[in-house]
């Protein structure tokens, strides 16, 4: 028996993540500064960790209810109301998931299948397209443009909608571009969607990391509330990536369906993480603010550094990434990243890892110490100067 032949075609059709190939290269090199890691460099604030430790000391080591502890869902509900003016009933409109990623997968499994289309604006987080493909649905890609600051425009959306469209994935603040959608930007999108039977999966995992103005959720438009599933979690805002905890909020019928997928595939999200997350929501606002202030400082240094090195860099207003244009180097994104890594020992990720329209761009994260960022930017400037000679 050949095991490889036993794997179903739909799984084989999905290529491995484009970021992975650098892993092997880096492992053999010393003194590499990685601006490739998509997670906070901060550790989880102490009070949150302590709550997790305390729950273990008490012997709180059992399964939680399938949709998550009601105390946590209560706090999620209060938090979304306090921060973004959203209201979800903790009893039947919120489900606690294993990271935001599980929510995306479960939602797509509940909403689409063969013959349905899922609109995915790219560049974007690498998991949306594979998760859509796994369901048998057809991903329809919108190529976002730098001249629109990588925001989704009503025109681009309208062109992508067909009779088969069932879901739009909206992910702002965006990974990898750092783009955001303001209230005004969303108004145009709402205008198109309000009379259509299209569900918006709004991945708002980076909502807290908004630097210019408060994040606005598309679910805050009354006409969109029922049609939107908000995905979020604790990884980015509270530096809790390893705890693997997220949540999804939306229409009770959709949450009920997702609960089915969740309870059979996962059972329930980790108990310790849920206990710690309650503390995060109750007493974490100050730490989030401190981290956001620090990211903002680094963001400005990073944008400035790339511009000084001669690369155009539109101003990202969210998440913790910059997405500079490297076309000036005459290299394609992959070559640029490979040479920058080999010659200057700085890892950035080719824009193409996040969609074909990412060609000509690279993603660099400022979730790294200021010291490393400055060192990396000096090396990038060196690299650029060598290119000019």
């Amino acid at each position: 028996m050949k095991m490889a032949e036993m794997i179903v075609p739909i799984i084989k059709s999905v290529p491995p993540s484009g970021i992975r190939k650098y892993f092997d290269m880096i492992n053999e090199m010393k003194d590499v500064i990685s601006l490739g890691i998509g997670e906070p460099d901060f550790v989880t604030p102490w009070n949150i960790r302590e709550e997790g430790i305390y729950s273990l000391e008490k012997g709180d080591t059992h399964y939680s209810p399938n949709s998550g502890y009601i105390e946590l869902r209560d706090e999620i509900s209060k938090y979304l109301n306090r921060r973004f003016g959203l209201y979800y009933n903790p009893r039947n409109e919120i489900i606690v998931t294993v990271g935001g990623s599980e929510g995306i997968d479960a939602a797509l499994r509940c909403l689409v299948g063969k013959g349905d289309e899922v609109i995915i604006p790219e560049p974007c987080f690498v998991a949306y397209k594979p998760c859509a493909v796994f369901t048998g649905a057809t991903p329809v890609i919108i190529n976002l443009r730098e001249e629109d600051q990588f925001r989704l425009t009503p025109e681009l959306l309208e062109q992508a909608i067909t009779e088969k469209t069932k879901v739009l994935i909206l992910a702002f603040p965006n990974n990898p571009t750092g783009a955001i959608m303001t209230k005004e930007d969303l108004e145009g999108i709402v205008e198109i969607l309000k009379d259509k039977d299209i569900i918006v999966i709004s991945d708002e995992i980076y909502a807290e990391l908004s630097y210019d103005e408060q994040h606005v959720s598309i679910a805050s438009f009354p006409e969109m509330k029922e049609k939107t599933l908000v995905i979020s979690g604790f990884s980015k805002a509270y530096a809790m990536t390893g705890w693997r905890l997220g949540y999804a909020c939306g229409h009770p019928d959709l949450i009920k369906a997702m609960l089915k997928v969740h309870q059979y595939a996962i059972m329930s999200a980790p108990t310790t993480a849920q206990r710690a997350a309650v503390e995060a929501l109750k007493n974490g606002d100050r730490d989030v603010k401190t981290m956001v202030r620090e990211y903002n400082r680094r963001r400005r240094v990073m944008v400035d550094g790339f511009r000084k090195a001669g690369y155009d860099c539109f101003e990202p207003l969210g998440a913790f990434y910059v997405f500079p244009c490297i076309k000036r180097s005459g290299l394609i994104s992959e070559e640029f990243c490979e040479r920058l890594l080999l010659e200057e020992k700085v890892l950035v990720v080719p824009g193409t890892a996040f969609g074909e329209c990412g060609e000509g761009f690279v993603r660099a994260t400022y979730a790294n110490s200021m010291e490393n960022i400055i060192k990396a930017l000096n090396r990038i400037q060196n690299f650029s100067q060598k290119q000019n000679k």
Binding site: S17, I19, R20, Y22, F23, I26, N27, S34, G36, I37, G38, E39, D41, F125, V126, A127, L347, S369
Partner: protein, 65 residues
Amino acid sequence: MSGGFDLTVMLDGKSLKEVASFVAEKLAPLDAVLSTATHFVLKKYKDNGTIFEKDDTDTREVVIL
């Protein structure tokens, strides 16, 4: 000296046994010593009020997705 004891003796020993022997054989037999309490330093976080720097190695995975 106020509090529950009069003298603090700090000593370095190679093993628990070495410290225990010193207390049992040299300190405790002294006439003036009524009782002893031994505390071991397991890990030093501060010296004279200065916090030792934590190891700042980046333990994040280089590549996740």
